[in-house]
Amino acid sequence: MKEGRISSPYIIWMTIFIVFPILLILFFGITIRTDEGFKLSLENFQRFFEPIYLLVLWRSIRLAFISTVICLILGYPMAMILANKDLKMKNTLVLLFVIPMWMNFLLRTYAWMTLLERGGIINSFLSLLRIPPINLLYTEEAVILGMVYNFLPFMVLPIYSVLIKIDKSLLEAAEDLGADSYTVLRKVIFPLSIPGVISGITMVFMPAVTTFVISRLLGGGQFTLIGNLIEQQFLFVGDWNFGSAISIVMIILILISMGFMSKYEKENEGAGLW
């Protein structure tokens, strides 16, 4: 009874701002606008499965996947360094790592624009070395860079939080039994950190696959991702029905991958972020 009363504001909030909008998206997604009003139809989904839009979907998944892999490769060693108990400056390092996250990510992305452009800081530096300017901005690499830069902390922090909880006596036991440090990493530390890695992957892949700001600012409107497509349908074309259908496809994809991840996490008795 008491719990019910406490949770009711949250339930109302979620109904208004989560459940209701999703129902609206569902409604728009499975209807088309005709002169007589809305008509039930799966035309929007049919349109989405045209090759051109599948290409957009494929591009989103591909770029998000590449970014996630890079984040993992960069983030895992970073998390291990941060989790190292002997490190003197540990707190300072963690703080330095977290501070940029307090700044608006749009601002940080704009900063990359001035760094990467032809007359930007990187190219000015290259010209000092007598290297002719190269096109850095408005390339696919710039989009990936933007994703990695913005989402790296979401990879490092879950892994870090799992790593610091690992019982050190396990590592000592492994070493006593003759394992070298590489074997300890491979056979003990890494398997124990899997839950953190899984939440890290989820937390990088999801926002990367749905982003639309990074691809517009750093990709110059040339690398349309699924998020750009949705934005375009709602804001410029006004085809809410098609936009909603794409959103539904997106929601389904996210649900599938979350289901997959949570199954994996249960098997490993997860200690991730959720």
Binding site: I52, Y53, L55, V56, E117, R118, G119, N135, L137, Y138, G219, G220, G221, Q222, T224, N228, L229, Q232, Q233, F234, L235, F236, V237, G238, D239
Partner: protein, 347 residues
């Protein structure tokens, strides 16, 4: 538990009272203005507030479509908006605009007659012209050594990755249709398909599809060629004299932006007051002098700097623009344009 509830209720009551009281102190009437980004001298809002005690709330949009959808969807309460010709036509036909009472806008008489009686507002009942101009190519003379007189230069591989296109569907598809020798108001599907193929063919050469950033990029020499509106070209030339503007010989788009009162307005008279204020000679001059766009206001134009009045970028003779067309509302056929632009961008 009861104590807590009482405390919460008391808090809410107190804050409500405070909110209402402070609200009264500064309850100036407000007017919501919806304009293109970078398209007005914002100090004019202060002048207006000082003179009439009405505070301006200012919002901006990036394309006509953007603005249209926001007004059409409802939920907004803009009093004055600044759409272009074809969008005004569409908004009139969809009953989204109030008829203006021109008795409240005596300054309308200063607007040149050649800017009235256009097909987008045939009865001159819904709009007061704000600015006009053309679409053309701005190029950096230090980076381009060919003559720029045709849209074809935007398809020249020599300038690969040095070309900026507008991220605006009517404009980008429009100039492509012109390049191919078609009307930019075409309703012929084959012609549109040809334009789509040309745009897809051009895509590898394009550095980026941009909006207002085009100005900073061109001024900084980040690209060699860009499609721009003439008023922006004037401003860019002020900032970087290496930049020159050309209207391609195949013809281009001649456009007019005007002030209208959308049906979302809650105070039509104040909106008319604002439009009249914007059309007052000193204010129209101050604005045109600041943003660099071409004003249809005769008196304001005469006050401008000689160099600007004689600059064919800003004030071409209307007779010289025979190949140029004004956009028309395409009503339902617009869906084809939407689709083509989506496909070009998605590619």
């Amino acid at each position: 538990m009861k104590k807590i509830i009482k405390a919460v209720v008391a808090m809410v009551l107190i804050s409500t009272v405070i909110f209402i009281m402070t609200g009264c102190g500064q309850s100036k009437p407000t007017l919501k203005v919806y304009n293109w980004g970078d398209y007005i001298d914002e100090s004019i809002f202060k002048d207006f507030e000082e003179e009439y005690g009405i505070r301006i709330i200012y919002d901006t949009f990036a394309t006509n479509e953007d603005m249209y959808i926001k007004i059409k969807a409802g939920g907004s309460d803009y009093d004055v908006a600044f759409p272009s010709d074809y969008m005004i036509e569409r908004m009139i036909s969809e009953d989204l605009l109030y008829e203006i009472n021109y008795n409240n806008i005596p300054n309308y008489k200063y607007i040149g007659d050649e800017f009235k009686n256009f097909s987008y507002d045939p009865t001159n009942g819904y709009s007061v012209p704000y600015m006009w101009g053309t679409v053309g190519i701005i190029y950096n003379t230090t980076m381009v050594d060919d003559t720029v007189d045709s849209w074809d230069i935007l398809w020249n591989e020599k300038y690969a990755k040095q070309i900026l296109m507008l991220d605006s569907q009517r404009d980008s598809i429009g100039i492509t249709l012109k390049k191919l020798g078609y009307s930019l108001n075409t309703k012929n599907v084959d012609e549109l398909e040809a334009a789509k193929d040309a745009l897809i063919e051009q895509k590898p050469l394009v550095l980026a599809y941009v909006g207002d950033e085009v100005k900073d990029k061109m001024i900084a020499g980040e690209a060699a060629l860009a499609v721009v509106w003439s008023g922006d070209a004037v401003y860019m030339n002020w900032e970087n004299p290496d930049l020159e503007y050309a209207i391609p010989k195949e013809g281009s788009n001649l456009w007019f932006d005007a002030m209208v009162i959308p049906k979302t307005s809650k105070n039509k008279e104040n909106a008319e007051l604002f439009i009249n204020f914007m059309s007052r000679t000193d204010i129209a001059f101050k604005n045109a002098d600041y943003i660099g766009y071409s004003t249809p206001h005769i008196e304001a134009r005469n006050l401008l700097d000689e160099d600007l009045i004689n600059d064919p970028t800003a004030y071409p003779e209307l007779e010289d623009l025979v190949n140029c067309e004004v956009f028309k509302d395409l009503s339902d056929f617009l869906r084809e344009y939407d689709k083509i632009w989506t496909e070009v961008k998605a590619r």
